[in-house]
Chain length 129, copies 2
Amino acid sequence: MESVFEIIAEPNRRAILSVLVSSPQSVGEIERQLHMPQPSVSKHLRVLREAGFVESTVDAQRRLYRLKPEPFKEVDDWLAQFRRFWSAHMDALERYLDRMDRFPTKESTAAKKKKMARPKPRTDKGEKK
Amino acid sequence: MESVFEIIAEPNRRAILSVLVSSPQSVGEIERQLHMPQPSVSKHLRVLREAGFVESTVDAQRRLYRLKPEPFKEVDDWLAQFRRFWSAHMDALERYLDRMDRFPTKESTAAKKKKMARPKPRTDKGEKK
DNA sequence: CACGTATATGCCTATTGGAGTATATAAAAG
DNA sequence: CTTTTATATACTCCAATAGGCATATACGTG
């Protein structure tokens, strides 16, 4: 049982995940898009499947692979403990609005209208020896 | 130049980062909190420093290590492309408010008041094989 | 200066994990 | 039933890396 971090440490696996984000894909389609040998794709998909990043459904000889959300949330949860820290450099609401710009929803649009002059960026005047 | 993902793949390094999230710490303090041999701590800190996760300031014989935000943002940015996807399982605004509960700020409190009945969770009625 | 403390580095070893290649399995097509 | 297509697996090799230990460096104290 590998940690989610070890799984996404591999560049080819991250590439596969990125390909799958648009829609489920077969091994062959991934293979072609990434110019990657088929056994390599299959092996990485196996790792990703065992780690819960993807699941596969059968379509004749093909296997369609699709993303599963849980492991991503796990990464996000780990990241959470550092958000307070790095928010000193980039305001939390600003990050939120950035995301909403990418993935607009009804609520986000409403929330955005509420955005007005933000407090001045607290630039960490730290004493660096 | 290792990717940030390879850096955080190592459990001891993640432990070190978690220790540093509260406040800057010396090598010896990290060593004691994590029950980890000193050369090991130093080596991991070196990797973390070269990857931009931490920086050190000198205090006599001690070196104080503190977190830096950039690499964490890099992870967060990578994660962003998957957020739309896993939002089908947990609404984006809800996640935002969860974060605000942990790290309340003036704006977040204001934003939270705007939260009312959210649209029904779009449960992925997918055709599984 | 000699000694203790704090940290960094060099060397060696064992392990791990990905690449490459060949092959196995399985389903469709002819 | 043979062949082709799609995917999985087995095996070998190689490189990267973490751990352990000894040692180097550097600063402070008496």
